[in-house]
C-alpha cells in the first residue's frame, strides 16, 4: 500500500502538479440486520483503491480508481491533472495551503476484541434473539442490527509525508416500531439510525447489552401509542446525550465548518450564520457552554492522529464560556482565514472521495452537577430522549427537532411519558438558555454519521456530551 501511495504521488508530480497527495484505503465492512426474526441483510464488503488529489496552476483536481496496476495508476494521476487543468480556466486566485511539517508515522487504533474475528453465527443469533424479544403485541417492526468496519489507510504527499493508520469500529442497535392503525411510534437503543458506532471492538457490543434492553425498547414503543401528546408549553427542557449529540452536530458542528463559512457548500448544503469576524465576539451560548473539537479522544469512531491532508491532529476550542473562539479548518481554509496552521479536520469517506472539513468529536464539556441533581433541581420541565426528526435551515439558525419520547418532570421527579415532543429555536438563543450541564460521570461519546458534500459522503462523526438543561424553551406536540 505504501508503494502504491508513493508511486501515484510521484507520477502526478512528474505531470506538472505543484502539490499532490494520495490515499490508499483498504476497507473491510460487515452489516447485518435482522427484522422480525428474519435476516434482512448479511453483507460483508471488501474494498481497496486509491484517490489522488493535485494542485495544478493553483486549481484542484481529484481522481480515484480501484485498479492498482502501474498503467491504471498513471491514468488516474493523469485524469487528476487533466481535470485540474480544466478547472484552472475558471479561477480567480490560486489555491494556497497553510504550511504543515512532513511526517513518517504509523498509528493503529487498538481494540480489545477484533469484531471481524467474532463468528457470524454468534452475531446472527444475538440479533435474532433481540428481534424475538421485541416482537410483541403492537410491534410491527422489530429490527436489530450490527455494523463493523476497518479501514487501513496510507497517506502520502509530495512534501514527503508517509502515514499509515488503522481504524476499527463497531456498532449495534435496536429499533421497535409500534403501529395501531392511526399512528406509528418508534423506540430505539442506543441511538436512532446510526447504530451508535464507537471506535472500539466487539467489547462495545457486549457492554451495551442489546438483549437486556430489547423488552424495554419494545414496551416503550407500544406505551407511546397510548401516551398523550406532549403539551404545548414553555418550560425547562433536559436533553439526553443521544438527542443532544445531534443538536451539537447540527447547530454547532456544521456552523463552525470553515468550508461552509467560506461558501464552498453554498450551492448545496448551504453556508453558516458565522462570519470569521465574529471570532472572540459572538455570544454563542450562556457562560456554562464550552465546546471543543478533539480528534484525539479515545474510543470515538472518528478519532485519528493525522487527518486526510496529513495534518497532525489536536484539540481546538470552539466556544469558551459561551463565546465563539474557533472554527474547524483545512489547510486551504486555514490559509484563507489567515491562520498559521490547519486545525486538522479533513476527512474523506474512503479512497474515492476528496477530504472535507469534518467535525472531529465536536463536544460539549461536562458541567459540575450530577444527572440525579439535574433532574431533582428541575421544578417543572420535560426530559427528551432520542432524536426522531431534525431539520435546520441552510445557515444553521432556525431548527426543529422531534424526539421519540418525553417524560414530564414535576418537583424534581420524572412522571408521565408523553409522545411526539418537538422543540424549535434559533441557534444562539437556544444555547443561551443552557443553565446546567451534568458532570463527567454522565458524559459519553455518541457515534453518528453525517451526509456532507457532493457527491454526498456518509462520514464518521461523534459527539461527546452529558444531559443538559435549557430554561424557558418552547416545546409542543407533533403539528400536522
Amino acid at each position: 500500500m505504501r508503494d502504491v501511495a508513493q508511486r501515484v504521488v510521484s507520477m502526478a508530480d512528474g505531470m506538472g502538479a505543484s502539490y499532490v497527495d494520495s490515499r490508499v484505503v483498504q476497507r473491510e465492512r460487515e452489516f447485518i440486520s435482522v427484522k422480525n426474526e428474519e435476516v434482512e441483510v448479511a453483507n460483508s464488503q471488501d474494498d481497496m483503491g486509491v484517490g489522488v488529489r493535485v494542485l495544478v496552476d493553483g486549481a484542484w483536481g481529484f481522481a480515484s480508481t480501484n485498479r492498482l496496476d502501474g498503467r491504471s495508476l498513471e491514468k488516474c494521476a493523469r485524469r487528476a491533472v487533466e481535470v485540474a487543468r480544466g478547472g484552472a480556466t475558471v479561477r480567480k486566485y490560486p489555491v494556497q495551503l497553510a504550511p504543515e511539517p512532513e511526517y513518517q508515522d504509523e498509528w493503529i487504533r487498538s481494540v480489545e476484541i477484533d469484531p471481524f474475528a467474532v463468528d457470524m453465527a454468534k452475531k446472527l443469533e444475538l440479533l435474532t434473539e433481540c428481534s424475538k424479544e421485541m416482537l410483541r403485541e403492537g410491534v410491527g417492526v422489530a429490527r436489530a442490527s450490527l455494523v463493523f468496519e476497518r479501514d487501513t489507510q496510507v497517506f502520502a504527499n509530495s512534501s514527503g509525508s508517509l502515514i499509515r493508520q488503522v481504524f476499527t469500529e463497531s456498532g449495534g442497535s435496536l429499533y421497535a416500531l409500534a403501529v395501531n392503525g392511526e399512528q406509528t411510534q418508534v423506540r430505539t437503543y442506543p441511538c436512532t439510525i446510526w447504530h451508535d458506532i464507537q471506535g472500539e471492538g466487539w467489547e462495545t457490543i457486549e457492554a451495551r447489552d442489546l438483549l437486556g434492553n430489547a423488552p424495554r425498547v419494545a414496551s416503550e414503543a407500544v406505551q407511546l401509542l397510548s401516551a398523550r401528546p406532549c403539551p404545548e408549553m414553555t418550560t425547562d427542557v433536559i436533553i439526553a446525550p443521544n438527542e443532544l449529540a445531534l443538536q451539537i452536530h447540527e447547530s454547532v458542528g456544521h456552523a463552525v465548518e470553515a468550508d461552509r463559512i467560506l461558501g464552498h457548500e453554498a450551492d448545496f448544503a448551504g453556508t453558516s450564520f458565522i462570519d470569521p469576524d465574529m471570532l472572540g465576539e459572538l455570544r454563542y451560548g450562556s457562560e456554562v457552554v464550552n465546546l471543543f473539537a478533539d480528534p484525539t479522544l479515545p474510543g470515538s469512531r472518528i478519532s485519528y492522529k493525522y487527518d486526510d491532508e496529513g495534518v497532525k491532529a489536536g484539540r481546538v476550542d470552539l466556544v469558551r464560556d459561551g463565546v465563539l473562539v474557533g472554527l474547524t479548518t483545512s489547510r486551504e481554509s486555514a490559509h484563507e482565514l489567515g491562520l498559521d496552521r490547519s486545525g486538522g479536520c479533513m476527512r474523506a469517506n474512503n479512497f474515492d472521495h476528496i477530504p472535507l472539513v469534518r467535525m472531529p468529536n465536536v463536544s460539549l464539556e461536562p458541567g459540575d452537577v450530577s444527572y440525579e441533581d439535574l433532574i431533582a433541581s428541575t421544578k417543572k420541565g420535560i426530559l427528551l430522549d432520542q432524536n426522531r426528526s431534525w431539520s435546520i435551515d441552510d445557515r444553521r439558525l432556525n431548527f426543529q427537532f422531534g424526539s421519540e419520547a418525553g417524560w414530564l418532570i414535576e418537583d424534581g421527579q420524572i412522571t408521565e411519558m408523553v409522545r411526539d415532543p418537538i422543540y424549535a429555536d434559533i441557534t444562539p438563543q437556544f444555547w443561551s438558555k443552557c443553565d446546567a450541564i451534568a458532570d463527567e460521570d454522565d458524559w459519553r461519546i455518541v457515534g453518528y454519521a453525517c451526509g456532507k458534500g457532493a457527491p454526498s459522503q456518509d462520514g464518521r462523526v461523534a459527539h461527546g456530551c452529558s444531559h443538559a438543561r435549557f430554561t424557558g424553551l418552547k416545546v409542543g406536540g407533533k403539528k400536522s
Binding site: V39, T89, V141, G263, I354, W390, N398, I422, P455
Partner: protein
Amino acid sequence: MILGKKCLQDMAEMGLRQADGFEAEIHLENYNYGLTRFSEGQIHQNISMEGIYVTARVFDGRRCSEVTARAPEPEKVAEAVRRAAEALVAGAVRPQRPLPGPDKACSVDENGDIPGFDACVPENADRWRGRVAERAVSVIEREGPRPFGRVATEFSERLIMNTAELISYAPRTSCNVSFTAIRDTGYGYSERSGFSLDAINAGEAASEAAGGCNLSRDPEPFPEGEYPVILLPYAAADLVSFVARLGADGEAVAEGRSFMSGRAGERVVSDLLTIYDDGADEHGCPILFDGEGVRKRRVDIISEGIASGLLYNQTTAAAEGEVSTGHAPVVRAFGSFRGGASVSPQNLFLAEGDAPVAEMIEDTDLGLLITTLHYTRVVEPRDVVITGMTRNGTFLVRNGEIVGPVKNLRFTDSYVRALNQVTHVGSQSLLCGEGVGGIRVPALRLDSLRFTGTTEF
C-alpha cells in the same frame, strides 16, 4: 470507459460457476462519475471517480448471504461468490425470495439505440463540465450576483445475472447542473437534468438563478401561519417524492405504516393529481431494470387522486402474493449502514396540468411563492408529516401579483393533507433531482400549507 455487455457477462459467468449448486445472483456495475463545483466564481472541486463494483448474493432456500467488493478483475468476482457461499453456512432464516427469470426487454445491445444513454457523455464529460461551469459563472456574474454551483456527469453500465438464467444489462448516462446565485440578502436557484448533454441549457438555467436572486434581495419578515402557496417544480418535487416513497411501498402498506394502508381505490389526494413511476419514459433518465434485474414496470401510484398502485420487489411481492413491479432499489453496494427501504420509485412523474405559473399568481389573493424547500425531514411517516425550510427565494403574492421577497419560513405539515389542497397543476414540468433517475414535476398551487417558524434572513 464502457466495457460492454460481453466483458461484464464473462466476469459474471466466471463468478456463477463458483456458486457450488446454490442459487446465486451477481451484480456488476462499472461507473464513472465526474463533478465540478464552483464557489464565488472559482472552481474549488473537480473530481473524476471510476470503478467496478460486484455484489454476489447466494441463496439456499431460506438462507442468504451477500458479499460486495470493488472488483477490477474476474477473479475478484469469483472470489466474492465463493466467500458468499462459505458464509451461507452461518446464514439465518430469511423469507423466500424467488429469483427472477430472464426478460429480453432488460438486456440491450450496447451498439443499438439505448433508452437513457447518450454516447456523447463518456466522450466529452470532463471537458463539458468545465465549459458549463465557465458559462454559468459568466452569465450569473454579468447579471450581478456571485455564482455558486455544480455540474455533474455520470456514465455507467449495470449487469445482473443469476442462476435462473436472468441476464439484464444496460448502460446509462446522466447529467445534472444546479446553480445558486447570491447577492447580499438575495438568493436564486435553478437546476436542470437529463441523460444527454443536449438536454441541458446551462445559459438559460444560470440566467434563471441570477434573475431569482435579483428579485429576492432585501426580504421582509412575514409571520408564521397557514397560507396558500405556489410551489415551483423544485419545491413541488419534494412533496411528490415523499408521498410516493413513504406511501407506495407495498411492504409499508401491508404493515400499516402508510397513509395508503387499507385505502386502495379510494381518493387520497386532490383529483388533479396523477403520480406514476416509469423507468422507460425518456422525459426522465430511464432505468430499465431494478436492483434485482427485474424490468421496471410503469406503476400508476395515484390516478386522479385515487390510490391505485403499489411498488414491490421480489421479496415483498412474494409476501403479498403480488408480482414484483421492478422497484428493488438500484443502489451502489457501498452505501450507508442506515438500512434502506425495500423499494424505491426512482423515475417519478407528476402529470402536467394546464395552469401556467402566471395564472397561479393571478388566482392568489394572499399567499407565498416558494422556489425550493430545504432540509425536509419526516416528523411522522404515516401521515407524511414533514418539516423543512423555504430557501432560495420566497415571495409574497398579494391581489394576484408578486409584491416582493419575504424572509424564509419553517413549515411543518402533512404532505398528504397538503396534496389534498391542490387548486392548480402547472402546465410545464421540469426534471429535478440528481443522480439515479429523477423526478419530473410541474409547479403546484395549494390552498394551504402550515408555516410554524420564521428566520432572520
